[in-house]
Amino acid sequence: MIVVAVVLVQLAFIARGYWSDHKEFAFQMFPESSTWRADVVRVTQDGRRVPVELPWSGYRWDVLVPNRGLPYPSVRHHADAGLDNQLAFLEEALDWVARNTPRDRETRYLEARVTSWHNDDPPQVELIRSDVRGGTN
C-alpha cells in the first residue's frame, strides 16, 4: 500500500509540475533559458515612486530579499526554475516586504514593472503590485 501510494503521489506531483508555478517534486531541471528584470519601486502615500535600490527606513531590499535570485531585480537574470516560478516568487517577495517593514510609515505598496524574455520570445512587460500596506490608506 505504501509503495502504491508513494508511486501515485509522485506521478501526481510530476503532472502538477506542468501547470503549477511552484513545481515541488516535479523534477523539471533547467527548464528554460528565460530571463527577466524588474524596476521595483515603493509607491508612497504622496504618490512618489522610489526605487528599492535606495535604502529606506533602515531597510535594504537585498538584505530583505537575498534569495531565489531576487536581491538585484534591476539586473537582467536567468529565471533558474522557469519564468512562472520566478515571477511568483517576486510577487510573494513584494507582499512579504510590504508586510514586514514596520518602521516604514510612508510606503503604500510596492510595485514591480517586469520585463521578461521567455526563451527566445519577444519581451513581455507586466506590472506586479504588493498588497496595500495596512494602516497606510
Binding site: F25, L70, E92, N119
Partner: protein, 377 residues
Amino acid sequence: MNAAAVGAPPGAKSLVDRFDALLGRRVSMRGLALLRVLTGPVVLLHLRPYLSDSLDGHTYRDAFHHPYAAWYPELPDAAYVALLWLAAIAAVAMSVGFLTRLATATTFTIVAYNVFLSTTHFHNNRAYLLIVLGVLALAPTGRELSVDAWLRRAQKKPALTQSAPAWPLWLLRFECSAIYAASGLSKLVDPDWFGGTVTWQRVVRAREDLNALPDWTVSLLTDRAFHTGAAKFIVLTELFIAVALWSRRTRYAAVWVAVVFHVSIEASASVQVFSFLAIAVLVVWAVPSTRDRILRVDPTDESQRRLATLVRGLDWLARFRVETAKPGSRLEVVDRDGTALHKGAAVAFTLSRLPLTAWFALPALLLPPVRRARRRR
C-alpha cells in the same frame, strides 16, 4: 542472502500476487546501508548555509520567506536553531550508524520540517534528499556498516539478520528512475528545449565564462546548429538512464552514463547537493544479494595479495567472498552464474564491481579478450 533468493518465486498466481511477492521478499539491505553512510555528509552540506546563518544570528525569518500553509508550526528562533544543530548531529549518527533508526528518522523529520517551512527553501536537490531520507528512515539499514552492528559484536550479542522486505529498495529505485524520466520528459515535450533554443541561449549568455576554453571550443559551443543536436542528446540521455536502469543487461551502462552526466552538470551548473546525492543513490541498483561472487587468490603471489587487500577495503557492497587458493594458482573470480574468469579479465571484472573503481573498470569489460572470457563457462 544469495541471488537465487532474489528471483521471482514459482507459483505466484496473478500480477498483483507477483508484485506483492516482489515487494515483500527479503533481500540484502547492504545497498541502502551504504547509501545511509553516504547520505550523512550530503545532509551536512545541505544544512551548512542554515547553520552558518545561525552562527551569525540569522534565521529564515529575517528575510523573505513564504510559508506553504498558515497553520504550519513555526518555532521560536532558539528552538529552531537548536533543531538544526540536532539535525546535524543526527546526520553524523545516521552516517556512522549509531542508534541508526532513531538518528535517520530524526534527520528526516528535521530536514523535512525545515524544507517545508517556506517555498523559498524548496529546490529539486532538497526534494530528492527528502525522498532518500524518507526511504532510509523506513528501512532497517543499521544492521551492517554501523556502530550499532559493531557494538552488538563487541557485546557478543547475535547479529541481526541483514535482510529485510524489498519494498523500500524498490521504492527508491522507482524514485531514482522517475527523477530522470520527469526531467527528460519535461524537456522532450518542450519544443524550445528539444530544439536546442534553451541550451544555446544559456551558453551564449554565459559566453564570458568560456574564455578559458580554446577558440574552436567556444565557437562550437556557441553554434546554434550544435545545440540542435546536443539538446536531443541531453534529453535522450536522461530518458536512457531512466529506462536502462531497470534492465540488468543495460544497468551498468546506465550507471556509467549517469556518473558522467552528473559530473558534467556539477562542472557546469550550481545544483547544491544534487550531483553527489544522485551518484550515491545509484548504489541501490546493485543486485540486493551479498558475497555471492568468489575471488580466489594465491597468498604467495604479491599482485594477487594486493588485489585481495583492495577488495577487502573497497567492497562496500559486499559483492565478493575472498578465498585462499593453492600456491601457484591463477587469480580466479567466479561470478554468481558460475562463470570463472582468470588473470586480467578477473581483475577487470572485480574492479568493475567495486563502487569506487567501477566507473573506470566497466569499459574494460567491453574489450574482446574480457568479453570472450566472460562468454566461456
